[in-house]
Symmetry: C2
Subunit: 190 residues, 2 copies
């Protein structure tokens, strides 16, 4: 009874519009149109643009569960879990994620919304620390390790959206982990 057009539809519409316009440019009118509802309805249902974003982010990234609770003896396996998660995220929602990350800098509105998904990073930190202590990874601030691991994935996602000539090939998480662990020299014993 809530509505003929579900909230999920509106969330998807919003994320889609943000992906191609950015948050600020994403006019509530355009979001409403994309969702197939009236702009007034959108405000009656969600109150404000910020609140709509918050709900959309929450509902969308809650689904992306990262199974990281029990880091084991296998570095490669754990890193693969991480890379796979982020490459899937960037593959499906890359436009939104990057836009929001950037826009958070100057929009407290956006920043406030992003605090929730950021909690995920702490769990990643823990896993990396675990393997550093085991001696399976170079010791350095875990965020550095994280950036080195995920940076390539993320840059390809950025490039796909900026550069025409960039590869459209999706990232191969196994290759990323292998290169990360063994380096980019050919035939180094892999």
């Amino acid at each position: 009874m809530a509505s003929r057009v579900t909230d999920e539809t509106v969330f998807d519409a919003m994320l889609a519009v943000i992906a191609e316009q950015g948050y600020e440019r994403a006019a509530t009118r355009a979001i409403a149109d994309a969702a197939g509802i009236n702009e007034a309805t959108l405000f009656r249902r969600f109150g404000s643009k910020e609140n709509l974003l918050r709900q959309a982010v929450r509902r969308n990234f809650a689904g992306f569960a990262l199974d990281l609770d029990a880091p084991g003896d296998d570095v490669a396996a754990d890193l693969l879990t991480i890379v796979t998660y982020y490459s899937r995220l960037y593959e499906t929602r890359g436009g939104v994620v990057l836009t929001l990350m950037r826009e958070a800098k100057f929009s407290p509105e956006v920043a406030a919304v992003l605090t929730e998904p950021e909690a995920l990073l702490e769990r990643v930190d823990a896993v990396i620390l675990h393997h550093q202590r085991r001696g399976a990874l170079v010791t350095e601030p875990p965020r550095h390790t994280f950036f080195a691991l995920v940076g390539p994935v993320m840059m390809r996602s950025i490039a796909r959206r900026v550069d025409q000539r960039a590869t459209q090939t999706p990232v191969d998480p196994e290759a990323v982990v292998r290169r990360f662990l063994h380096g980019h020299r050919p035939d180094t014993g892999e």
Copy 2:
């Protein structure tokens, strides 16, 4: 005669405002204030916001020359040149570069301005290809190599501006290249 406030001052002001506000939010009024001139003067001198951006970018990134014309036998040395260049760029102008890259996606105005600095990437491609053919690098699309190399640097620059808890430590280009070539396993012979 030209003016008491130089064009360079205005360019710097614009890039500074963009770095913290983004291009769209960077109000011409705010730029003019930051430069210490009147908004009307700004338009009389530069015509439009887009043209101002173009001149600012041109003048600012022309200075960043990349010395890459003669790739040699030393992969590490050539990669170091590349990483050093980009880490310097992100260090000093990271806020602007990333913002513009992202905003280019939905603003043809910005995209048009960025075509010039993009030419640089082709020279980087050539160097990477050269070393791939020499057998010093894994063979893959050169842009992939580039992303894997520079991704970590760039992500740290992004993080510095988004995450409070991120490292403020500047990137060490030598370490980046070493890890890139040899991987993140400790003591792999290096």
